[in-house]
């Protein structure tokens, strides 16, 4: 049976597991209809021109893993940023693991979507925010239709969360192939401040497809930093749909580090609803083998005096494919917008491919918008210079690549995350240097 039919017909089974007498369920049912009409994206859609999900969709995914799977902390400790204290929301095969998690309800909520969707305490927030900015495209609709579990984070006014929040989805591989659809909601009220680290990790080589949707609301003066670490097993594919709404003077940054996985597609959407907003989108992609990473960004400038900064770096080896499709829309009301977009790529192998489409759509006249996109090689002279000074070629290359990616790393605010990423880069480039020379 085709995956689409399987999903649609399993909806009845899904309805037995969730509360159906609610507004949320109406949203779900509508989303299912939407998905039924749209189906999975194909390469014929402009937005999916360079990324095909066909091979991934052929797997026979189990939709609702039944078994309770437990994993030992010692086995998975390395996937946490464990050297700092943090709140943790851990899901194993889509189910919440209370044993590995560390949640809170004092002053702010870091808890589960499943309880937030049903408990009256959260009703107002869910009504105000759930599925309010997620677009109605095919994969997001699919996620909404089956939305039941994920992270629920609500930070009230003037609260500065003292430690980062880690959201980790593990897949144990107890099923032959697993489809996960986490649904996260992050609401950050006025002048609040939070840092979030996201990660998806498959523990075996069984195929996994994760179709996650995250909605982030940043109210006036709020600051939100999100770090997405994508270093999954080579049979794990990810479609990460993130929607971020910002109110005036808020600052939201999203850093995406893509080093692993089979097919990774990041749909990152920013909607600016207020003045003096700053949106920061940065990413480093270092992949090889047959890996495929597609960054699809949208920054929608609706109000005047806002800024957006995009900086994506990519290094592609072997048969890897990189896609960058960045879109900036400046509405005619959004005067005095400053929007910058930068995408730099290095191809290391002859078999690697890059498809870039940096797109600007501008309707306001008093704006400063620019985009730059380059594809090139390492500077031979710089490499030669280093070799002259006794740095071996391999290390020299790694140093140059590190320097190339460094503009993104610089703005990472959690030192431990920065260190971790630095180590991952070193490992990825096959050298044993700390870079913090």
């Amino acid at each position: 049976m085709e995956l689409k039919d399987k999903l649609v017909s399993s909806y009845v089974a899904f309805e037995n597991r969730v509360e159906t007498d609610s507004e949320v369920h109406e949203i779900r049912s509508k989303a299912l209809q939407n998905f039924e009409a749209l189906g999975f994206p194909t390469k014929k859609l402009e937005a999916w021109k360079y990324t095909s999900l066909n091979a991934v969709l052929k797997q026979d995914y189990s939709l609702f893993p039944n078994k309770e799977n437990n994993i030992q902390l010692a086995d998975v400790k390395k996937y946490f940023i464990h050297d700092i204290d943090a709140y943790k929301l851990v899901f194993i095969d889509g189910k919440y693991s209370s044993f590995l998690s560390e949640t809170t309800h004092d002053t702010f909520d870091v808890c589960l979507m499943s309880s937030a969707l049903v408990k009256p305490k959260y009703k107002a927030v869910i009504e105000n925010y759930f599925d309010k900015i997620a677009t109605k495209d095919n994969l997001t609709s699919l996620n909404t239709a089956f939305a039941s579990e994920g992270a629920y984070i609500h930070i009230p006014k003037n609260v500065e969360v003292e430690k980062p929040i880690q959201i980790i989805n593990f897949t144990t591989g107890s099923e032959a192939a697993t489809l996960l659809q986490p649904r996260n909601l992050i609401v950050v009220e006025q002048n609040a401040h939070v840092q979030i680290i996201e990660r998806n990790q498959s523990l075996t080589s069984n195929p996994v497809l994760t179709n996650s949707v995250t909605e982030v609301f940043a109210a006036k003066d709020a600051t939100v930093d999100i770090y997405k670490i994508q270093n999954d097993d080579e049979n794990a594919s990810l479609v990460d749909n993130s929607y971020i709404e910002q109110k005036s003077k808020s600052i939201v940054s999203v850093h995406t580090f893509s080093f692993g996985g089979n097919i990774t597609r990041n749909n990152l959407n920013f909607f600016q609803r207020g003045e003096h907003i700053d949106s920061i989108l940065k990413g480093i992609t270092i992949i090889e083998g047959k890996q495929h990473v597609d960054h699809h960004t949208l920054v929608h400038h609706i109000a005047p005096n806002c800024e957006s900064h995009q900086d994506y770096k990519g290094i592609f080896d072997e048969r890897a494919t990189g896609v960058f499709n960045g879109k900036v829309i400046v509405e005619k009301e959004a005067q005095k917008t400053n929007a910058y977009q930068k995408n730099n790529n290095i191809l290391v192998s002859d078999k690697a491919t890059i498809n870039a489409k940096p797109q600007l759509e501008i309707f306001a006249d008093d704006v400063k918008c620019s985009h730059g996109c380059t594809i090139g090689q390492l500077d031979e002279d710089a490499l030669f210079y280093m070799q002259q000074r006794g740095i071996p070629k391999k290390e020299g290359k790694a140093l140059l690549m590190y320097a190339f990616a460094n503009t993104v790393l610089e703005s990472v605010k959690i030192p431990e995350v920065k260190q971790r990423i630095t180590k991952l880069i070193a490992k990825k480039l096959g050298v044993d240097i700390g870079f913090d020379l």
Binding site: E46, K332, Q335, N345, L347, V348, S349, D350, K351, A352, T353, I354, N355, A356, K357, P358, Q359, L360, E361, I362, F363, A364, D365, D366, V367, K368, C369, S370, H371, G372, C373, T374, I375, G376, Q377
Partner: protein, 482 residues
């Protein structure tokens, strides 16, 4: 060429919005509206074409019937009704003329008003002109001088008669009949156009030029241009277009094919000034054009275009860099005002080794217009050391218009070096203030700044065109200063 003074400019800015909007009452023969196989055959018959040509047209027509109109472009318009267009219109047949004195005075007058004088002045300017009116070539000058060098420059309908081997060999090789909806339509119904062949090692001594004009109402213009530059030759080719002001939307679907063989160079310049519609966006020409060039080893093709007219433009002059060390260039200024829409850009397909391409695109939008740049830079897996530089700058005037960039970059070779940059801005208040301080009024200051903005492209135009283009820019933007 006489010097162009500020007074003249001022005068021109005061004149009507589209000065080429007149209609010439020349007796002409127009086919009934509608399109079917009979019409295609009739056009072919009319032109006295050999059987292979008729078959070629019919095949294109059959393909076209199965195709759908493209909708991906960033433009909105009411689709042309293809059965409501007359596919052939020609000034009434008259005996072959040997000198210009014998030409219908009405026709000559038309050309005078268009600013093309077919006589002395042009001889001094040294430009050979082929004029296509309502899809039919009406006059070609300098045929003899060119003939001495072995250069063939004639209407394509005549070329089909006189040089069928050349036309048959090259027609449709760069833009196949099946290429796209409008190219297929053009292949089926094109009635005339220009054909140019430069023999081996010949450097064409003068600029070749084609002037297109739509005159009759209810017709479409479908012309076909084929330029073949044999090994080591050089040619510079100019193209200009105008149409009367009408309330209806007229369709112009042309195909231009360039072939630059080893070591050859083709420079193709266009000043497109079809009727853009009135201030409310009524009427105007739909300009759906397919232009493409093929470069063999060490060849070079350079496209330069100034797009100021047309209600809707859909045009992507492209280069296929097949040969090693070949070079492709694209320089473009697209100006849109009032309700004009332009979706234009280029494709650079790098296949050979050490190929280079440069793209400079300047978009200026004013009024309620939409201006898009859409480009593709593709580096094939075997294109070692390919190099591309693209720059797209947009200038916005007022907040009712829009500027869009859709660059596609696809690279499959690690030695490639590709750079793309784009900026969007408005005319700086400081810049204007600086000019005002020095006694230059705002309107003139804007003309000055726009000129500076487009200089990189204007510089690439041949002299005769550069002046015309500069004037056009100013007129197109008239009244857009808020």
């Amino acid at each position: 060429m006489s010097k162009y003074t500020e007074e003249q400019l001022e005068q021109e800015l005061k004149t009507q919005e589209y000065k080429y909007g007149f209609y010439t009452d020349i007796e002409s023969e127009t086919f009934a509206k509608g399109l079917n196989e009979e019409v295609v055959i009739a056009i072919s018959k009319k032109k006295n074409e050999p059987q292979w040509m008729t078959d070629w047209r019919l095949e294109a027509f059959r393909v076209w019937k199965k195709m759908e109109e493209p909708e991906w472009a960033n433009v909105q318009y009411e689709k042309p009704k293809f059965q409501d267009i007359a596919y052939y219109s020609a000034p009434k047949e008259k005996p072959k003329l040997n000198s210009l004195d014998e030409v219908d005075p009405e026709l000559l007058d038309t050309f005078k008003r268009l600013g093309i004088s077919l006589d002395e002045q042009k001889k001094l300017a040294n430009v050979a002109v082929d004029i296509v009116m309502d899809s039919v070539s009406v006059a070609t000058t300098f045929k003899k001088t060119l003939g001495e060098k072995g250069i063939i420059f004639m209407p394509i309908s005549e070329a089909i008669q006189e040089h069928p081997e050349l036309v048959r060999k090259y027609l449709g090789t760069v833009v196949p009949t099946t290429d796209n909806f409008y190219a297929a339509l053009n292949s089926a119904v094109f009635s005339d156009g220009s054909f140019c062949y430069i023999p081996k090692g010949v450097r064409c001594p003068m600029e070749l030029s084609t002037y297109f004009r739509i005159n009759e109402g209810g017709t479409g213009q479908f012309e076909r241009t084929l330029v073949v530059a044999d090994k080591g030759s050089y040619v510079s080719y100019l193209e200009g277009c105008t149409a009367p002001s009408r309330d209806e939307n007229q369709l112009h679907a042309a195909v231009v094919e360039l072939i630059a063989m080893d070591d050859a160079e083709i420079k193709y310049s266009t000043v497109q000034n079809w009727y853009p519609g009135n201030k409310e966006g009524k009427g105007g020409v739909y300009n759906f054009v397919t232009k493409r060039g093929l470069c063999e080893n060490n060849a070079k093709i350079s496209w330069t275009q100034v797009e100021t007219g047309s209600a809707v433009t859909w045009k992507y002059p492209s280069c296929i860099l097949k040969g090693n060390n070949s070079v492709g260039e694209f320089y473009s200024i697209a100006v849109t005002n009032n309700y004009q829409q332009a979706d234009t850009g280029t494709k650079m397909i790098h296949l050979g080794k050490n190929t280079k391409s440069t793209i400079i695109s300047k978009g200026i939008s004013a009024g309620s217009s939409q201006n898009s740049y859409r480009g593709l830079v593709q580096i094939g897996a075997r294109a070692e050391n390919a190099r591309n530089f693209s720059q797209c700058d947009s200038l916005l005037m007022g907040n009712l218009c829009g500027a869009h960039t859709f660059p596609y970059i696809e690279v499959k070779n690690k030695t490639a070096q590709v750079e793309h940059e784009a900026t969007t801005s408005k005319i700086g208040e400081e810049q204007l203030f600086y000019c005002n301080q020095r006694g230059i009024d705002t309107e003139k200051a804007i003309a000055l700044i726009v000129n500076g903005f487009s200089k990189e492209v204007l510089n690439k135009l041949p002299m005769e065109f550069a002046v015309e283009a500069q004037k056009l820019l100013e007129i197109s933007l008239e009244g857009s200063v808020g």
